[in-house]
């Protein structure tokens, strides 16, 4: 299995290779991501900016190139994140469902093995995640959260960098054809 590194856009959907993962990877990696988010900031607060569950959802959605799979992964991870947060169930679920769906949709069009694509998609999906969550808070929960675009941009960049490194690590967990 070879991945092109020169082209960003795929000429047809068939050029995209569907990555497969072992079942335990599909469970363990999201669980580890959630654990990281709820556990590591206890001791390293500066790592609280890392939205690892989102990055995992994006990765699996991109690599599996299946919208249903992506939205399900996003829904499950989002609901789990909801369960461990103070927001009502479904807030992160809906956002990550949409992220998973759109990531899978983009993954079918782009060469998701390209580092820049990964960096860019991570940045964009982080912004989408934050903005959409902000909107849902305002619309569904009638909260008045601050719109911190600059902060989200910076955090988006940081998460993109982390995501690129994480994706590189998760690539090693893919099943080879």
């Amino acid at each position: 299995m070879s991945y092109s590194s020169g082209r960003i856009l795929l000429s047809s959907q068939r050029e995209g290779q569907v990555s497969r993962f072992r079942t335990w990877v599909l469970f363990a990696v999201p669980l580890a991501a959630i654990l990281f988010q709820v556990y590591v900031p206890l001791f390293f607060q500066f790592l609280g900016f890392v939205e690892l569950p989102l990055l995992v959802v994006v990765y699996f959605a991109l690599m599996r190139r299946s919208q249903v799979s992506g939205l399900l992964v996003g829904a499950i991870v989002g609901l789990a994140q909801d369960s461990l947060s103070k927001v009502p169930l479904g807030m992160y679920g809906i956002v990550k469902t949409l992220v998973g769906y759109f990531a899978a949709s983009v993954g079918m069009r782009l060469d998701v093995d390209h580092n820049f694509i990964r960096l860019l998609l991570s940045f964009l999906f982080f912004l989408f995640h934050q903005i959409f969550f902000w909107m849902m808070e305002r619309a569904l929960l009638s909260h008045q959260p601050a719109f911190e675009l600059q902060r989200w941009l910076v955090l988006g960049l940081l998460n993109a960098v982390v995501g690129a490194a994480l994706f590189h690590f998760l690539d090693k967990l893919r099943e080879t054809a």
């Binding site: 556990y39 789990a80 461990l84 479904g90 809906i94 469902t97 569904l140």
Partner: protein
């Protein structure tokens, strides 16, 4: 319909999932109630892992911390052990130096108040062989040491020089089987020949069976052997047994009792009178009275010197002690009052009555030293702490010490002419006024004693 679903399957699923979650949200928001089941599942799935992680982390951190702490503790323990060992060594060194300074001062005092001209030396080695009774001292022919010279300490004789080398001398101890010296007992004036026995005790031969010797009696050198001047303490009788022709008398050498480290080599012997009182522990140094010491009672001040003066003084002391025993104050009673009962006088031999002041107060040095100072300041070296009062010795063994601790000249008693080979020797060193005690030299106490006594300095060693 089925084709529509197949065509829009993905978006349909998305909408369904979004709708379901919206519904879930709506329920929660509307009822203001949580859907507990989903949270329970999630928490139940996540928290055990988190607990496990926390356990691993805590254990790991604890292990690391403990390891680091233990590592530091080990290092600290090693450092403290090293410091403890260093302090122990320093403590032992200081103790040794303190003892050395004490011995040096004792040697110096003894050297300056003994008519014989002496040279201080230090034991530097012992002879080869497991049963060796010879030692080497650090003074040799270069310092004037010659074969046959006596070696003594303030406590008694030690041995004699059997070989003198330029830088060292070999000394045969009195416990050696080949050693012999003429001795005389203190009380009964029984003469004999001291011989080494190869054991810690020495034998005195040629004591006739009819002579009466008791354990505890002191032997002194007679000077007949032309090695040891007369009047040096030899030892104390430990056992007396009758044998075939003579008695078997075993003497414990007093010169070896406190170990050998610094000795005095008699360069020019001068005979001394044999004291009538046993030397006990040869006192050489008495510390001055502490500033806070209470002044002695008047009775102590008067009674103590009386027993060390003339016969009249002794009589006066005896009568005074009898009066004190009956709570009588001389000169205080009215004419015609009841006098003390003088029929209960103690014997005139110098034995103090039962109610007399303690022997420490009647010690000979009390004539020159405040009676309250010496015995209490250094009881171990008290010159007559263990000896009963008796006639004054021909020469005080302790230099008079003023209350502020300075030494005063010692009056020179008359002595019979010496019969030893060194009879023509000038007894001037004995008259030498000892200097105030210098601070102890950590390197060579014997050399310092020699310098204080005016002995020419020997070769460096």
């Amino acid at each position: 319909m089925e084709g529509f679903l197949n065509r829009y399957r993905n978006i349909t699923v998305l909408l369904l999932v979004i709708f379901a979650q919206l519904l879930l949200l709506a329920v929660q928001v509307k009822n203001d109630q949580d859907v507990r089941m989903i949270r329970v599942w999630t928490v139940s799935a996540v928290t055990p892992v988190a607990r496990l992680l926390e356990g691993v982390r805590g254990g790991g951190v604890g292990f690391v911390r403990n390891y680091i702490t233990l590592h530091d503790t080990n290092a600290e323990n090693r450092r403290l052990q090293e410091e403890n060992g260093r302090l122990k060594l320093e403590n032992n060194f200081l103790k040794t130096e303190l003892g050395r300074a004490d011995r040096a001062k004792a040697l110096e005092m003894f050297q300056t108040h003994t008519p014989s001209k002496m040279l201080a030396a230090t034991i530097i080695a012992t002879g080869a062989g497991s049963n060796s009774k010879v030692v080497f001292v650090d003074r040799g022919s270069g310092s004037g040491v010659m074969r046959g010279m006596a070696v003594v300490t303030p406590d008694g004789i030690v041995g004699k020089v059997i070989s003198a080398y330029p830088t060292a001398s070999q000394v045969m101890l009195i416990t050696d089987a080949d050693f012999a010296a003429g001795v005389v007992s203190q009380k009964s004036q029984v003469r004999g020949t001291l011989k080494g026995d190869g054991t810690p005790l020495c034998k005195v031969d040629y004591i006739p069976l009819e002579e009466k010797l008791t354990p505890g009696e002191w032997f002194y050198t007679t000077g007949d052997d032309r090695v040891f001047p007369q009047g040096f303490p030899v030892g104390i009788v430990k056992a007396v047994r009758p044998a075939a022709q003579f008695q078997e008398v075993f003497v414990e050498p007093s010169g070896l009792q406190h170990g050998l480290e610094d000795v005095l080599i008699v360069l020019q012997g001068m005979h001394q009178e044999i004291p009538e009182t046993p030397p006990a522990n040869q006192p050489m140094y008495i510390a001055p009275a502490p500033p806070s010491a209470n002044p002695p009672a008047p009775s102590e001040q008067t009674a103590a010197p009386a027993l060390t003066g003339t016969e009249a003084d002794k009589l006066r002391a005896i009568y005074k002690s009898a009066g004190d025993a009956q709570n009588h104050t001389f000169g205080a009673g009215a004419p015609g009052s009841k006098p003390p009962d003088f029929t209960k006088l103690p014997s005139l031999s110098g034995t103090p009555p039962a109610t007399a002041p303690a022997p420490q107060r009647a010690a000979p040095p009390a004539a020159t030293v405040p009676s309250s100072a010496a015995p209490e300041s250094e009881p171990k070296r008290n010159p007559a702490a263990a000896q009963p009062a008796g006639p004054p010795p021909p020469r005080p063994l302790i230099a008079p010490i003023t209350p502020d601790g300075k030494l005063l000249p010692v009056p020179e008693p008359k002595r019979p002419p010496a019969a030893a080979p060194a009879s023509g020797a000038d007894p001037q060193p004995a008259k030498k006024q000892p200097a105030p005690a210098p601070p102890p030299d950590k390197s060579d106490a014997a050399r310092r004693a020699n310098q204080a006594a005016g002995v020419p300095k020997g070769p460096s060693h």
